[in-house]
């Protein structure tokens, strides 16, 4: 006759514990860190590329880029002026997790930086479940993806600390109802800081950059 043993343990506990260790390490170096999530093509790497030159002389930036394969993103970040650009190839995994970030942090002298930008794997589902230990999670949405994304990916939209709406220069050309989109966002994440911008025209980037600088100087 089997006996029932109560467990009640969160299955992602092991990852959460490691995320906490990463946070301690990042805090000890006095670095502000963000984890950027988005679907593929929303403009994560473009945002980093456009942001780095604007931070020149203000913040020393390191980037960690997660991808299933290739070092294209880290190469782009390095070319745009990142002080260090580490590539993590997940080898098929759909997200970064705290163990992978720990490995990447070991390759960095964090004391040489003010801001750490972690670019997650392009995916709106899985990365939301795996904490990394960064201070803020930033979601990059983009206008051509459609205005229904907060409704389809509530887990991701509700858990972020800031929301970038990229490609606003395309608003006249696509059927994107900003009010419907914002309503979906506000239900799950009321008052979330939002940055409508365009990486192509540069519109709105100054406010986003200021947010990074203010947070890094806290």
């Amino acid at each position: 006759m089997p006996t029932n043993i109560p467990v009640v343990e969160n299955i992602l506990n092991a990852n959460d514990r490691l995320a906490l260790e990463n946070r301690t390490r990042i805090d000890a170096a006095g670095v502000f860190s963000i984890n950027i999530l988005a679907s593929p093509g929303a403009g994560k790497t473009s945002l980093i590329e456009q942001t780095l030159p604007l931070l020149k002389g203000r913040l020393r930036v390191a980037t960690i880029d997660g991808d299933i394969a290739t070092s294209i993103d880290a190469d782009r970040a390095a070319a745009a002026g990142a002080g260090a650009a580490i590539q993590i190839n997940t080898g098929g995994d759909c997200h970064l997790d705290a163990v992978m970030l720990r490995g990447a942090l070991e390759q960095l002298d964090l004391t040489q930086f003010d801001l750490l930008i972690v670019e997650n794997v392009g995916n709106l589902v899985c990365p939301a479940n795996f904490k990394l230990g960064t201070h803020k999670t930033v979601l990059v949405a983009s206008v051509p993806e459609g205005d229904d994304k907060p409704y389809k990916y509530p887990g991701t939209y509700r858990g972020v600390d800031a929301l970038v709406i990229n490609k606003i220069d395309l608003l006249p050309y696509v059927n994107f109802r900003m009010d419907y989109f914002q309503q979906g966002v506000q239900v799950l994440n009321p008052g979330v800081t939002t940055f409508p911008l365009s990486c192509r025209t540069g519109e709105g980037l100054d406010i986003w950059v200021e947010w990074l600088v203010q947070n890094a100087k806290k």
């Binding site: 043993i5 009640v8 992602l12 997200h95 506000q186 239900v187």
Partner: protein, 113 residues
């Protein structure tokens, strides 16, 4: 894809608890899984047969208790189930809801011999 490390994590938690209880065999794992947890039970089942092989949990059954998503409107306090087309409160149209159920993803208990 993330179900492989997740399944390994489930096995580890179960084995740790079984060992503490001096159990010979794990016959079942009772997992609670919220609608918003973005975990796929078929996928966990698939990986389970691989990761649990040659352990005391090898023949264990995985029981999934699914919890539907439930939001509570912070304007009128109405509780509702969100759909993929509509998230605002169906009663007052309010935004700013609290998730009160649906994010669970935990191992609740194990059955051992």
């Amino acid at each position: 894809m993330h179900e492989l490390p997740v399944t390994q994590s489930i096995l580890k938690i179960a084995l740790d608890h079984a060992e503490k209880a001096n159990a010979q065999r794990i016959t079942a794992l009772n997992i609670v899984m919220g609608e918003l947890s973005s975990m796929v039970d078929d996928s966990i089942q698939f990986y389970w047969e691989i990761v649990a092989k040659d352990t005391i949990a090898e023949k264990a059954t995985l029981n999934f208790r699914r919890v539907p998503a439930e939001l509570q409107c912070m304007t009128c306090f109405h509780k509702y189930h969100p759909t993929d087309k509509e998230l605002v409160c169906p009663q007052c149209g309010g935004v700013g809801a609290k998730i009160i159920a649906g994010e669970e993803f935990a191992l609740e208990s194990i059955d051992v011999e």
